[in-house]
């Protein structure tokens, strides 16, 4: 099985076309449920941007995707597949929750940092095995990482049940006690659940962009990902880079869990993540595996999620529809030749011709056929 993956740049027209096709397919499904697609997309838009609570919702759902997506992006750039983001964010969340509870005596800033560092450490540790499998044993890290996801979720639940379950709760959910007040991330649009976690993620994206583009380390990572033999020939310690990339990816994934715990749930809860790991990977793919692309991708997916929740509440259309549309868009984005096949090239030329004809006199004397 060939797990080589080199990201090719995404063209404007492909992206636009993919989005339109995806929405069209979604419209067909909506018609199937007996609703008017335009009305439903209207709900979605309002649910994503129509009010303060909507925007808060969009940002809130984009935040975990930013972290998980960044983890995936870093790994992809280094030529690794971190499909274990889900597991790493679970262990990170538990670590953050525990430090949040038991570190209550610490001063505020130290405490917050401690939670985050604990989460990053946990995520990093959880990424060690896949890294070893790839680098030391020459196997593919994708599927063991996925298996570790299931292991992580069960392990965390087990640990909570055995050691960390608070007294006198209904305990239907396997959850820890709430973290200390001072660790809870402040909300940026109170009372809605979007927190400074979003701001931190934004900062990280910018940092990642600059690191990848302008530093030596970033160069080494990109080279390893794009052409590892060439990189090795040029003196890059390819295996070292791979390991570091995977561990860094795991750390960021752990941070995802921490921000979710410190910002939204305020404790570790079993099953708190509705596939943030997978969604993060999708967001990264949508953004062409680049930090700023990820930003757009994550915001887009956050908006779609926020909108789909409103649609589900108001019109009863299951949110799974949004998943279908998102996934289709990504498939179509990947299908580079699709737009050519469907004659988009000719359409584009025709449009360009029209635009040239309406240009101000003197600018372009050439007559288009």
């Amino acid at each position: 099985m060939n797990f080589d993956f080199r990201q090719k740049p995404i063209k404007v027209k492909t992206a636009l076309f993919a989005v339109m096709l995806g929405l069209l397919a979604g419209a067909v499904l909506i018609l199937f449920t007996g609703n008017n697609p335009l009305v439903i997309y209207g709900y979605m838009f309002k649910g994503a941007f129509g009010s303060a609570s909507s925007i808060a919702s969009t940002l809130r759902w984009a935040t975990p995707l930013l972290y998980a997506g960044l983890a995936a992006t870093i790994a992809f750039r280094g030529g690794m597949f971190n499909f274990g983001v889900e597991g790493q964010l679970y262990v990170g969340a538990l670590a953050a929750a525990l430090v949040g509870i038991y570190g209550a005596g610490l001063p505020k800033i130290i405490h917050i940092l401690a939670c985050m560092l604990a989460a990053m450490a946990a995520g990093l540790v959880w990424a060690i095995l896949p890294a070893i499998i790839r680098v030391k044993l020459g196997g593919n890290e994708a599927i063991p990482a996925m298996m570790l996801n299931y292991v992580a979720m069960n392990l965390c639940d087990f640990l909570v049940q055995r050691f960390f379950l608070p007294e006198n709760t209904f305990g239907q959910t396997m959850a820890t006690a709430n973290v200390a007040e001072q660790v809870k991330l402040a909300k940026i649009i109170p009372p809605y659940t979007v927190t400074y976690g979003f701001v931190i993620a934004f900062v990280l994206i910018v940092v990642a962009h600059f690191m990848l583009k302008y530093t030596k380390a970033g160069y080494r990572i990109s080279m390893t990902g794009m052409n590892s033999e060439f990189a090795q020939y040029g003196g890059v310690d390819v295996n070292g880079v791979r390991v570091k990339v995977m561990l860094l990816s795991g750390a960021v994934a752990g941070l995802c869990g921490a921000v979710e715990v410190m910002g939204v749930t305020w404790r570790y809860e079993s099953g708190f993540s509705p596939d943030f790991g997978i969604e993060g990977i999708l967001a990264s793919l949508l953004g062409g595996n680049e930090p700023f692309g990820l930003l757009i991708g994550a915001l887009f997916m956050g908006a779609v999620k926020a909108g789909s929740l409103v649609v589900e509440r108001s019109a009863g259309i299951p949110r799974a529809l949004a998943e279908v549309i998102k996934a289709l868009i990504i498939c179509f984005v990947s299908a580079r030749l699709l737009s050519e096949y469907l004659g988009m090239d000719r359409l584009e030329k025709w449009l360009k011709g029209k635009l040239k004809r309406t240009a101000p006199a003197g600018a372009n004397q050439v007559k288009e056929g």
């Binding site: 069960n154 990947s334 030749l337």
Partner: protein
């Protein structure tokens, strides 16, 4: 007692086995298809759908197979025809088909979580009379259904195809060296398409076994990672159909044992981890053995040239 275990192992392994054989064809043909999980899930849903509306399990199985083939054709379209990246499309298709099945479950049947209904007719099981009491052999002839039987036939069929037929050779060369194969006149594109269709059929049968073979119901996400375990089986087997069979049976055994272990009062969470840990351990084992094998070969090669 042993017989009960064997019955359970066969039953639990069948879906993984079918997927794995399909994946084997793809892999040998040079297609990296990781959308098996989603394909199996769609097939499981359509199997129940077909059975519900027609009252016949045969139609159910046919619907499941059709769904599998359609999914594979979608994959073929986007990757072979339109140049999509196999890994991206495969990974994303799993999300796509999971979402699609949930959507259809809720829109068509107006339930969520599971569809349980008397109208869903499952695949009947049969027993070969007379041999059931014999230990070990009895386990192989009791409570079988046609899908389990097909699963095992498919392994032997695959083995035969790859070892003895022209088709098998074409598939192997398309995967091994597509340019050379094309020069000799093999339609690599056609072979890969065929491999994907075969995968679709087999994953369709796998899905039918999940939702109609033992239970007669569909549950959201009921594949629970089996598609990925099938991939691991194929990677571990390095092209040998027989090894695929062995590994899949081991996984089935792991799953069955993990249910039994709960009887001993260990925490259910720890036990649920077991099948996945087994996959990881198996992967590690295989890789370590491979490395040692390589070292030995290198050493012996050096000795020869010395």
């Amino acid at each position: 007692m042993v017989n009960t275990w064997i019955i359970a192992i066969l039953r639990l392994s069948a879906p993984i086995l079918l997927c794995a054989v399909g994946s084997l064809f793809c892999d040998r043909a040079g297609v990296t298809n990781i959308s098996l999980e989603g394909t199996m899930l769609l097939a499981a849903f359509m199997g129940v759908f077909g059975s519900y509306y027609s009252g016949s399990w045969i139609i159910g199985i046919l619907c499941a197979v059709a769904a599998g083939v359609l999914a594979s054709l979608f994959f073929a379209l986007i990757t072979l025809k339109f140049g999509g990246a196999e890994l991206v499309v495969g990974f994303t298709m799993n999300v796509l088909l999971d979402g699609l099945t949930v959507f259809m479950l809720r829109s068509i049947f107006k339930v969520s979580g599971s569809l349980v209904s008397e109208k869903v007719i499952g695949v009947p099981s049969f027993t070969i009379p007379g041999l059931t009491k014999i230990p070990v052999i009895g386990g192989f002839v009791t409570d079988l259904n046609i899908l389990v039987v097909l699963a095992f036939i498919s392994v032997f069929l695959a083995h035969f195809i790859f070892k003895r037929t022209h088709l098998g050779l074409k598939v192997l060369s398309s995967g091994e060296n597509p340019q050379a194969a094309a020069t000799v006149g093999i339609n690599v594109y056609g072979i890969r398409l065929l491999a994907l269709v075969i995968t679709g059929v087999l994953c369709g049968l796998a899905g039918a076994q999940l939702s109609l073979g033992y239970l007669s119901m569909f549950t959201e996400g009921m594949t629970a990672g089996r598609g990925f375990i099938a991939l691991v089986a194929v990677m571990f087997a390095r092209g040998s159909s027989m090894r695929v069979l062995l590994v899949t049976l081991l996984f089935g055994a792991a799953e069955m044992m993990s249910n039994y272990l709960q009887l001993f009062q260990y925490s259910s969470y720890l036990i649920l981890m077991i099948p996945y840990l087994c996959v990881i351990l198996l992967t590690l084992l295989q890789l370590i053995l491979e490395q040692q094998g390589k070292k030995k070969r290198m050493i012996s090669a050096r000795e020869k040239t010395a």
